[in-house]
Amino acid sequence: MADFDQELDASGLNCPLPILRAKKTLNGMESGKVLHIIATDPGSVKDFEAFANQTGNELMESKEVGGKFEFLIKKA
């Protein structure tokens, strides 16, 4: 996994909390910085895709690692 600047562990949280926490964390980051998110909600895979499409933040990577879902999002 590529480098990241900040990490958010949303494990155990259900919809819509992973998205809300990610948005809040991104709000405090500078443009171009990368956020690494860990989630256990299977719905978060499609949700982070949709989040990126609608907010313009780039979803650089999305993968499953040992039953958890990991995402890299670059702040627009």
Partner: protein, 160 residues
Amino acid sequence: MSDEKKLAIIATKGSLDWAYPPFILASTAAALGYETEIFFTFYGLQLLKKDLDLEVTPLGNPGMPMPMGMDKWFPVVGLALPGMQGMMTSMMKKKMASKGVADLAELRELCQEAEVKLIACQMTVDLFEMNTSEFIDGIEYAGAARFFEFAGTSDICLYI
């Protein structure tokens, strides 16, 4: 602001289960950059109380999954037994907590943080003689015309 998408919601229900959709959708929409307003009317006003003492009822709700096959032991009349609503509410709350579903008050706070506008129907407040000191701060009191001012320019409008 004018190029932002807009979501307008009318929240009419005051039970624990139906309290979720307006707050989930509003907070998510706000995170996606929507300008969002929720107009609370009739039983929906319960969702604005500081003390969110909401319950869920299996009565008149054949779609509600009942734990341990309870719907078999208790036919419809059994669901009206005293204590049933309290029991179902406590089971639902436990289930939600164990599945990482957001606490309602937390979700509502997230909405307010994200500048979702919460509007209480003044007519309902008068009708049920509700005490506005029981409501959270930061809400607006207005009528149907105020709702249409925003809803008329919205991209999505939901009645919940």
